[in-house]
């Protein structure tokens, strides 16, 4: 891991407002500040509704902060969105193409990697059949394979480490863990403390939309466990 900052958040606040002219909802995130460093796996911990998914969308540039600043280095940052842009009536191949392009890949990249995607998803000749004929597991495999092989420079993961049936879950989970343990820059949102302890280099703990603590994995997990047992 280097200490080069790839993403920097300073006093970022964000609220969902459902109409342009109406008053916004309460802040989902309030004055959030932290950095994402090159090569690290940064885990984001927090209870349901803490604002973790919204935070990932802000990091991905899907949302912009209402106040505060997000700075991003000139690198490819992408949320691991499985089955993004999938259309029922198109073939697996066509869906893989459109999905990879949605994730920032070029058409030529898709043409070069389509066999790899089919192999990883274990779909073989089924790839040219319409998606509507796929089982849920086959769709999950295809979606995961596209997302996994698209491999942006900074990958943002919301809980998903493994998908599909037990066999593919093991395979996809192992592949993803291998990537997390490599020099890849990853921001991982998860409730699984064991996963955080195993894979993360640092942790940011979000509570009620604010950064409650951030730092070394062991310290934050211990504090989070204690808080979860006795929030008062």
């Amino acid at each position: 891991m280097s200490h080069q900052t790839l993403i920097s958040l300073r006093d970022v606040s964000f609220a969902y407002g459902n109409r342009l002219f109406s008053r916004g909802s309460p802040d989902v995130l309030a004055r959030v500040s932290f950095d994402v460093l090159a090569g690290e796996t940064l885990a984001v911990l927090g209870r349901n509704g803490a604002g973790k998914t919204t935070l990932l969308r802000l990091l991905a540039g899907i949302f912009a902060p209402d106040s505060g600043k997000i700075w991003r280095a000139d690198v490819e940052i992408s949320l691991l969105s499985l089955q993004v842009g999938f259309v029922e009536h198109l073939s697996g191949r066509q869906n893989a193409r459109i999905s990879a392009m949605m994730l920032g890949k070029s058409r030529s990249w898709v043409d070069q990697h389509i066999d790899e995607i089919a192999d990883f998803a274990e779909l073989g000749s089924v790839l040219d059949r319409p998606l509507k004929t796929y089982s849920a597991g086959m769709r999950a495999r295809l979606g995961f394979s596209v997302g996994y092989l698209a491999d942006p420079e900074v990958i943002l993961i919301d809980e998903v480490l493994g998908v599909g049936d037990i066999e593919f879950q093991e395979k996809s989970s192992a592949a993803m863990k291998e990537r997390l343990q490599s020099n890849k820059t990853v921001v991982l949102v998860t409730h699984q403390l064991d996963t955080v302890a195993e894979l993360a280099d640092r942790v940011v703990w979000i509570e009620g939309g604010e950064v409650r603590n951030q730092g070394a994995v062991g310290d934050i997990i211990a504090a989070y466990r204690a808080y979860s047992r006795d929030p008062g």
């Binding site: 407002g17 991905a60 912009a64 940052i77 009536h89 198109l90 949605m102 920032g104 070029s106 319409p130």
Partner: protein
């Protein structure tokens, strides 16, 4: 997400092609439905105005088709643009795409359907004995000017209906009003002078008159019509795309 303008355009193109493929795969008759649906639409107008009201002379079918083919392009695109952003809210929550790109996809898919219809219409004219002249080349700037106007109207419709969904009702009724005052199924120049002059203040009315003049009479279009429609469209396009870019991230929030 880092995405160059070229990548964005490639994605718009690919997504538009996928949408067309998906639409044709969903319909029992596939591609044919893109032709059958507007032909049925036009048949209704023919039955009502030619047989019902006994309007027009021997060239009335060509006259009517010339108006309806282009009107269907304009109306179909603007109407579809009203739901372009709302219909893609799931996608917007997963990946970043500039919001104008969703409008561009609607414009592209409808332009493709229109090009099929236009081709059929021109074939019909040839079958009916109309002969192409050199002035048919004026169709390029003429159709180009309508495309600019369509893009401008579509961008603004998409923006407004995203924040105020009820605006779709107003836009739909506005389109209906425009349909009745643009000389789609009647000849504006044949109206009472004062009324005809007033109706021709609407740039679309002049555009339809010019289009018919070129394809049915082999004449030249009015230059000021092309300029007026192009400039109006360009101004609307600048405003619409400007709004979509200015409120790009608010649109992602609103759609959730």
């Amino acid at each position: 997400m880092k995405r160059s303008l070229r990548q964005t355009w490639n994605l718009i193109w690919q997504k538009s092609v996928s949408d067309l493929q998906s639409e044709s795969a969903r319909a029992l008759l596939g591609l044919l439905w893109w032709i059958i649906e507007p032909v049925l639409y036009m048949a209704v107008f023919y039955l009502v105005f030619k047989i019902g009201f006994r309007m027009g002379g021997p060239d009335f079918v060509a006259f009517l088709l010339a108006g309806l083919v282009c009107w269907k392009w304009f109306q179909g695109t603007v109407s579809a643009a009203c739901t372009a952003l709302i219909a893609n809210q799931g996608l917007m929550a997963q990946v970043y795409l500039p919001k104008w790109s969703f409008v561009a996809m609607v414009v592209l898919t409808n332009a493709f359907k229109f090009s099929l219809l236009l081709l059929l219409f021109l074939l019909y004219l040839l079958a009916e004995g109309y002969r192409p002249t050199g002035n048919w080349l004026y169709l390029v700037p003429l159709l180009g000017s309508l495309l600019i106007l369509i893009c401008g109207c579509a961008a603004n419709s998409a923006f407004v209906t995203c924040f105020v969904p009820e605006a779709k009702l107003i836009i739909d009724n506005g389109l209906m009003l425009l349909f009745f005052v643009s000389g789609i199924f009647f000849d504006i120049s044949a109206r009472d002078t004062a009324i005809g002059d007033a109706l021709l203040l609407n740039p679309l009315a002049g555009w339809f008159a010019s289009f018919r003049h070129v394809v049915l009479e082999g004449g030249r279009p009015e230059l000021h019509t092309i300029v007026t429609v192009s400039v109006t469209g360009a101004i609307l396009l600048l405003i619409g795309v400007g709004l979509l870019r200015r409120f790009d991230h608010q649109i992602a929030k609103v759609s959730l």
